[in-house]
Each structure stands twice: as C-alpha cells, then as structure tokens.
C-alpha cells in the first residue's frame, strides 16, 4: 500500500504517458468521460460515473478488422495490427471493473477474440473506490464492493491523499514506474473510509434490490411472462442503454468502400435496433417487445445460464439515469422477481 499527494496526480499521469497511453476521466464542458490524458486536460476523479463506461478501450465502438485492396484482378487482404502498446486506464469504478470481467468471459473464452485479447494484455486498470455512491447505484446487488475495488491496482481518495494498492504483476510494475511520487501507506488508513462507504451504500434507494426469483432454471417462465408487454410499452428503441452499458458487448460487422480499399470493420450494435440480427430472410425479432425482452433476458438469464450464474449487470445505474422513457433494468428486475416469487 502506497500513498501520494492528490495534487501530484497530473504529474504522475504525465510521467506514465512517457511509456504508455494514459486514459483518465476528463471533464469537457458538462461531460466527464474517459479520454486520452494529455496536457491541459481537466482531470475529474470526483464525478462518480462517466457517461460512457471505459469498455471502449477494450471493445472500441468502431474497430477496423482488415482492409482489402485490389490490383487488377488481384485482391490483397491485410489484417489490421493488434494493439501492442501498453496503456493505463486511471480511475475506473468497481462496477466498471466487474464489467470488464464479464466482457472477458465473452471475449476471452474460446474462440478468443484476438483484438480484445491484445488490448486486454496491454491494458492496465487502476480502479478507484467510490467515496460517494450515487442514488442510482445498485452494485451491491451483484456483490460488488465499491469500497474495495478490484483491478490491477486499486485506489482510494482520502482527503488530500490518494492510496494505491497494486494487486497484480502489471499493477506492481506500474507502481514502480511512478515510485518517485509514492510513499508507504498503511491499509489501516483506508479502513475508516471503507466503512463510511459501506454505510452510505446501505442507505441508497436501491440497496434492497433483490434478485430473488431470478435464480434457477426458469428460462421459459420468464420468456413467456406477460410482464414484457407492460414493461416494453414506452421503449423508443434507441440504443442509449446499450451504448452506455458497461457490459453490453454485441457488435455488427460491416464493409466500407473507401475508394482505394474496402475496409471491414466491426462496430457496437444494439439489440434494441430493428436491424439487430437482421438476416437474409428477415428478422427473428420483429417487435420491439421481443427486442426489449432479448436485452434483459440476455443480461438476467441467458448470460448467467452460460457463465456459472453470473448476471451481466453490474448495477452502475447509468441506464436508470439516461433512458429517455425512464425504463431500466431495475424496473425489469423488480417486475420479474415479483412475478416469479408469487
């Protein structure tokens, strides 16, 4: 356990920038998102939740896979290079850290996604404990402890200091790079803060959100429940929830003719869109109800069924805040859990 002065963070990040890419929560106007930390960027580690989760550093919204050029009647295909430069993401919250583990279970299981794997190997995540959990947070429902975040290194902000604990080899190597800013700290110094965080968590509106009723093999029951009709009714079929969700992972593959070459790229897709899984014969999910159901069945049922019961929601609460129609996964969980308990 180390500690350093909070005011030294920008300098510390600049130092890191000499040997790797550095991403950190940067405030631009009213928005805070993870961005390239460059000189003059306004670091913002007070804002609890960035609009977008940091998942796009591992699964970018658009990623070129290969390009094809033709010379005469010859076609040359060139795969795009994999990520080979290390990078660090500074200040990731517990929920988003857990989200990365969920993405790992998808992209690092066979067949392994090389692009994702390369990014994951080169990426170092420094997590940050949530001193002030928000009203819409419900990570505790998924047994996430924002007072004790995982990742390569964990951080706590306490008064004017920041405490850093390396958890992995990558983390330890990183700590060595910045050793000139660090001094020894004790685990005891963060306990009080951790307790305070946990107390706050217990008072949050969703602190008692329970998954009772969602466990067990009730796929068909849930699939056919009439609740979906009620739940989806005002869904506008936009992709806000999908694109800001740290665990949503679906992509589409498209080609683009630049004139000189044809680029095949993949990009985020949303199961809320009417052309999601569109096939030659048409679409298997024709109504918004079916698409809406797909999203939540995937998160709450299909994913756990395939991944040792792990629900692919981390309770970050972004969707609760952003949905234009005030729909969200909490409403779905409440509705389904109640339904199945009865």
């Amino acid at each position: 356990m180390f500690k350093m002065a909070k005011k030294d963070i920008p300098n510390m990040l600049t130092l890191l920038g000499e040997s790797m890419d550095v991403y950190a929560p940067v405030k631009k106007g009213k928005l805070t998102n993870f961005e390239d930390f460059t000189e003059g960027a306004e670091l913002d580690i007070d804002t609890l939740k960035t609009v977008k989760s940091p998942k796009d550093f591992f699964l970018p919204q658009v990623e070129n896979l290969f390009s094809a050029t033709s010379q005469g009647k010859e076609i040359n295909i060139e795969a795009k290079a994999l990520r080979d430069k290390p990078f660090v993401i500074f200040g990731v919250r517990s929920c988003d850290v857990r989200a990365m583990e969920i993405l790992d279970s998808v992209y690092l299981s066979e067949p392994v996604d090389k692009f994702y794997e390369a990014r994951r190997e080169n990426g170092i995540i420094l997590s940050l404990a949530c001193n002030e959990p928000g009203q819409t947070c419900f990570c505790t429902t998924f047994n996430i402890d924002p007072a004790h975040p995982n990742a390569d290194g964990a951080m706590w902000v306490i008064n004017d200091n920041i405490y850093i604990e390396a958890r992995t080899e990558k983390g330890e190597n990183l700590v060595k790079l910045i050793s000139k800013f660090l001094q020894e700290g004790s685990k005891n110094e963060i306990v009080q803060s951790q307790t305070a965080i946990r107390e706050k968590l217990n008072k949050l509106p969703y602190s008692d959100l329970s998954l009772d009723g969602l466990e067990g093999n009730q796929l068909l029951d849930l699939f056919d429940t009439p609740q979906w009709e009620e739940l989806h009714k005002t869904c506008l079929a936009c992709g806000i929830c999908t694109f800001i969700c740290p665990t949503c992972q679906c992509y589409d593959i498209k080609d683009y003719d630049t004139g000189g070459e044809v680029v095949r790229y993949r990009c985020w897709d949303s199961c809320m869109y009417s052309d999601f899984t569109l096939m030659a014969h048409g679409n298997i999910r024709n109504s918004q109800k079916e698409r809406f159901r797909q999203r939540f069945m995937h998160k709450l049922v299909y994913h756990p069924d395939n991944n040792k019961g792990e629900i692919s929601c981390v309770g970050c609460g972004r969707c609760v805040n952003k949905c234009p129609s005030s729909l969200n996964i909490v409403k779905v969980i409440k509705s389904l859990a109640v339904k199945c308990n009865v």
């Binding site: 033709s70 005469g72 004139g259 024709n286």
Partner: protein, 660 residues
C-alpha cells in the same frame, strides 16, 4: 456481379485527338466487373453497333458502358442496338467523353484522366442498373368527341373510318354546330347545308359512331388510354327509340313564340321542337322551361297527337359511364355578347350580327332567305357592314385578338347581297382587310371589283336608330372625311370567343386553357392538335379562331393523332419513373404534395412485413402519369421512394467513382 463490357469510341479524331484511347481502355480493364473492353473509330456506325451486339452475345455481358459522345446524341441508338441482343436496353450507360471531355479540354493528360473517371463512373453506375421494362397501360379503343360541330363530326368520322368506336357528346339537341346555321361558305360560295348535312347523316348512320345530343360531360377520371367518363344525357321528354320524327307534336304545340336559338332569336320556335329541319337526330326536345305541361300541368297536346307514343313527361336525366382511350375537345366558338356595345345600337332590330345575317339570308331561315329589315319587313336600300366589332380591342368588353373569319364572311355577305339585289348599296367599314388563304384575297377583290361593294377604310363611331332608318357617323380615313349618313340595315362582324362551358370541360380533363379561354396546344408548332395532357386532343375553333377549311383540315390531323394512339394495344411508358418500396413507406404524404403530375395517391394496402401482415396507408404510383422527375424521391426521408434509372444507389456509385 455484373459482367460489364466497355466500348470506347474514337469518334474519328474528335475524341482520340485529345484523349489517349489506349489508356482509357487499359484503365477500364482494371475496373471491377469489367469483362470486356473494346475501342472503335466510330462506335455509332453500323459496324460499331454490330461489334457491341456481338460482344454482348459472345461474352455474355450483363451491362455495357459506351464511352463516346453525349447520351443526348446516341443513347437511343445504342439502346436500340442492345435491344437487338438479349440484353435489356436499360443495362447501358454512356460516358460522355466527347462534349464534356475531349471537346472542352486541351491537355491530353487531363482529358485522358477525365475520360477515365467518367468511364469509371458509368461502370460504377451500371453495377447498380437493373433491367427496366417500359410500363404498359391499356388502351381502350374508343374515343370521345366533345362537341358535334363540323370539327367534332369530321374528326369522329375520320376516327370511325379507321375502325374505332367514337362517341360524340353535343350539348344542343342536334349535331351540326355553327356551320349548320350558315347559308353559304367562302370562298366557293357553296351551300353550307349541302356540304354539312351529308356528313351529319354519315355520322348518324356510321356503325362506329354513337351520338349523344342534348348531353354534357358529368365527370372524368383516369388518364391517357384509360379515361372513364360519365355523360349526362339530359331528359329530352321524348323517347328517342319510339319517335319517328313526324313533326306532329311541334305542329300542335300551342306555345309558338319562343325565340329560336338556331335562328339566333330572329325566328320563333315551339316548346317542343327540333332546332332545324335537318337536325340529327330528328327527335324533338321539350323545352321544359316554356312547356305548358311542365309549367301548369295542363296541355299535353303533343302527347295526344304522338302516334308512336314517344312523349314521356316523366323522363329523367340519364348517366352513361364509358371508358375511352382518347378525348377530343371540339367545343367551338360563339359570338361575343354585344350588351356593352351601346354605340352600335344593337338594341335596334335592324342592327344585327353576322350570324343573324346568315340566318336571314338562309333559305331555311326565318325570312325564307328574303333580305328584309326586321322592323318594317321592307327590303333595305342600303346595308352597312362594320368589321372588327369587339375584336382587336383592348377594352374589357372586347377581345384583343383578331377573330380571323370576319373579313372573309363579310366579303361573302356583301357579295351575296349584291348578287341577289344589285340595287342595294353596300358599304363595309374596315380597319384592315385580312384575307390570306387560297383564293381568299381574290374573293375579297371580287366583291369590290365585280360586285361594287364599297369598302371604306375607317370605323363607325356611332349608330342612332331613328325609327325609320339608322343614322351613322363614321370616318373615311383615306378621304379624311367624316361620314354622316343613313342606312337601312347594319351588320356587325362580331368577335368570336370559345363557348363558356369549355372552362369546365378543360378543368375536368386537366387540359390547359389560355387567358382567352382558348385551349392551349402541347406545342404550338410540333404538337398543334394535342393538349399538354396526354390523351386529350383538340379540334376546331376551341384552339383559336378558325374557318371551315382550316377546321376540317385540323380535325383530320387530330383524327390521325387519335388513331395513332388508339391503334396501339398498349401504351409504352417511360420506365425511368418513381419506384416505391412499400415496406419502407410510412404514409406521410410528402411525396404526394410535390408531384407535379398527380401521379401519387395513397391507398390502404396489405404489407407483408417479414411474415407479419398489416394494412398500411402507403403511396401508390400511377406509372402512366409519372414522368420521372424525382421530386418525390428527395422528399421521402426514409428512402422508400426511389427513381428507376437514377436510383440513390446509382448516383452515389457515380459520386464514389468520380471521387476515387
């Protein structure tokens, strides 16, 4: 994937002088989908065309690009060549490397690069071309002629002779029109009735002609080749099938003092009447406004005397709906109203219009052909003709145009008077004498030279009816003298105008009409008998003042055009028209609002949306009306509407290729 053939034309040195053809050919070979490339000095020549045709067959080409001159020049040529093979002619695009390249650029390298880019764009477009098939719309082999005057009748006869059924709709009780009212015709002075009535009879008995007199157009639907028109046959109160035309009814009719329309009000008719002796059909009509039976419920004399029991007081208007392939407007003209011409004292019985004069000199007319003054039934000693009454006049009461026929008929009238009554003094006041036409000027000169008609260059300023004679004040401009003199009869060469009802008819047919209510031609020189609305044709004086020879000649031309249309089994329409993907249409009606042809309507249609059937309100394009401008395509935000031949994909492909 298309198999594309590219054919680069040298156009002698026109292209090859500035563009390196070999380079264009070589570059084209590397374009995707290009299977065959060839060049030739004159691609449009017989040999060039057969080379293209041969290549299409031998290399199984699915699309071709001709890099040559402007498509405005030879696109049709090459489409025809393609059509002689198994290739759809619309799988062809032209790259304009002459007018828009070799002729406007001097630098050989620049021009060659541009020729390459334009060829590339055409190749890119062809990739997205789809075979297009000119639409077909059925042609109902039946024509409708509106107006039963000489224009309508002769046009109908010509069409009927070609083997097509023609219906004539005439608003008055008999066909014949204005010509039936005339006495003699210029410049031959043959009897109008003698030449018209045989035609009327021909029409009556022609197996292909149906005549609906006392009828009007009620409504029009449809478009060229496929009009559906409803005709209102007004109640005649006489059963056409039973009536033998014996005339007993109007002999007995007690109401005898109705000014007769046919005699221009100079003669009287009965309440049940036929307008004139040779009327076709020879079946009387009851004028319900004046008939005692209808006014008071009493009388019914005609019914009593009618042997075949044809009188039917209960008869109602009948609506007939029929399909037509073509419509001919032949509504003709009528003299303008002289109510506002106080200076000519038209209220005097001895001041008459030329048409009234025709009736008066007609042997079957109200005076049995005797020239008398209406006021005292005496033979006039002098007659004054005044020309240009209401013509060439910018005042509201008048017409700005020259009525064209007046100079000739006035000369005719003057001559006829002098011929029959050499003792009558005849003066004609004129502004200009306009008599161009075969034997026309000679005719006018005969009036002056052989018959001694006194032509005075000048106008009449005012006419005063003194009771026993008419006093006029005029001017002789050549003499520079004012003339104040007495005359016994004044004939006004009244301006003519289209009949009022033509506005309504034109409106129903969406044919255009000018400020004078004359029908507008599709093109004044190249399409002189067609209206701008496809399938609507024009005949006779509804287009503008015309004399009889011109009317009949024009009616023949109209008939030829109509026959040309009706002879087709199907109408071939431009295939480059709007094309809707009903699945994407959300029924917002924006396209309907911008269509200049009214070719888009909305219908509730069953759509199969990936197996889910739903009734949706979607756009429907009338392929016969759409001209392919593309206004709707750009208005449609979702891309549901596209334009065949210029589709979004085709144009974006061209853009991409040019910018590459």
């Amino acid at each position: 994937m298309q198999k594309i053939g590219v054919f680069v034309c040298h156009c002698g040195t026109n292209i090859a002088g500035t563009v390196n053809i070999d380079e264009v050919v070589e570059n084209a070979k590397h374009e995707p989908g290009v299977k065959y490339v060839a060049e030739y000095p004159y691609m449009c020549s017989e040999a060039g065309q057969s080379m293209v045709q041969k290549a299409i067959d031998e290399h199984d080409l699915s699309g071709i690009v001709i890099s040559a001159c402007s498509p405005r020049m030879h696109e049709t040529t090459f489409r025809r060549a393609a059509a002689r093979t198994k290739l759809n002619p619309f799988m062809l695009e032209m790259a304009n490397i002459r007018e828009q390249c070799s002729w406007v650029h001097k630098d050989k390298e620049e021009a060659t690069n541009k020729a390459h880019a334009l060829t590339r764009a055409a190749i890119a477009k062809v990739h997205h071309n789809t075979p297009l098939f000119p639409g077909e719309s059925p042609v109902t082999k039946r024509a409708l002629v509106i107006g039963g005057g000489i224009a309508g009748v002769s046009c109908a006869l010509d069409i009927a002779e070609a083997g097509f059924v023609v219906d004539i709709v005439e608003s008055t009780p008999s066909i014949g029109g204005k010509m039936a009212q005339l006495d003699k015709t210029f410049p031959t002075l043959d009897c109008s009735a003698c030449i018209l009535t045989p035609k009327m009879v021909d029409a009556q008995f022609h197996e292909n002609i149906n005549i609906h007199t006392y009828s009007e157009i009620e409504s029009v639907e449809g478009f060229v080749g496929d009009f559906t028109i409803t005709i209102r046959k007004k109640a005649r109160s006489v059963d056409m099938k039973k009536c033998t035309g014996c005339g007993a009814c109007y002999d007995k009719c007690p109401i005898k003092k109705i000014p007769g329309e046919f005699d221009e009000g100079l003669g009287m008719r009965t309440a049940i009447y036929t307008p004139f002796a040779q009327a076709i059909p020879n079946v009387p009509v009851i004028d319900r406004e004046h008939c005692l039976k209808f006014k008071t419920g009493k009388c019914g004399l005609c019914e009593t005397v009618c042997a075949p029991d044809a009188i039917d007081f209960e008869q109602e208007d009948e609506l007939i709906t029929e399909k037509y392939g073509a419509v001919i407007i032949a509504t003709g003209i009528t003299p303008i109203s002289l109510d506002k011409f106080g200076e000519y004292a038209y209220t005097s019985p001895d001041v008459i219009t030329s048409l009234e004069f025709e009736r008066m000199t007609n042997a079957a007319g109200p005076t049995k052909g005797e020239l008398i003054r209406i006021s005292d039934k005496k033979k006039p000693k002098s007659i004054t003709f005044i020309q240009c009454v209401g013509s060439r006049d910018v005042a509201v009461r008048s017409k700005t145009y020259c009525s064209k026929i007046c100079c000739m008929y006035t000369a005719k009238h003057a001559m006829l008077v002098k011929d029959k009554y050499p003792d009558i003094e005849v003066n004609v006041f004129y502004i200009d004498v306009r008599t161009p036409g075969k034997n026309f000027d000679e005719f006018y000169r005969r009036a002056v030279e052989e018959y001694g008609v006194n032509y005075i260059k000048g106008q009449v300023g005012k006419v005063v009816d003194n009771g026993d004679s008419l006093w006029i004040q005029a001017v002789d401009m050549l003499d520079n003298k004012q003339i104040k003199t007495k005359t016994d009869l004044i004939v006004l060469a009244t301006a003519i105008e289209p009949v009022k009802s033509v506005r309504n008819i034109a409106g129903m047919l969406s044919a255009s009409i000018d400020t004078n209510n004359f029908m507008t031609e599709a093109h004044p020189k190249l399409k002189p008998v067609e209206s701008p609305t496809a399938g609507v044709f024009l005949a006779g004086a509804c287009q503008g003042p015309k004399d009889i020879p011109e009317t009949v000649a024009g009616a023949g031309a109209t008939a030829a055009k109509v026959i040309g249309l009706l002879a087709k089994d199907k109408l071939i329409t431009n295939p480059c028209i709007a094309d809707l993907d009903p699945y994407y249409c959300n029924g917002c009606s924006a396209c309907e609002k911008v269509c200049p042809y009214g070719a888009i309507s909305y219908e509730d249609t069953e759509i199969n949306d990936h197996g889910k059937k739903a009734i949706r309100r979607i756009a429907v394009i009338n392929k016969a009306l759409c001209q392919g401008c593309g206004a709707c395509v750009v208005t449609c935000p979702s891309g549901a509407m596209d334009l065949l031949g210029f589709s979004n994909r085709q144009i974006t492909a061209e853009v991409d290729a040019i910018c590459r």
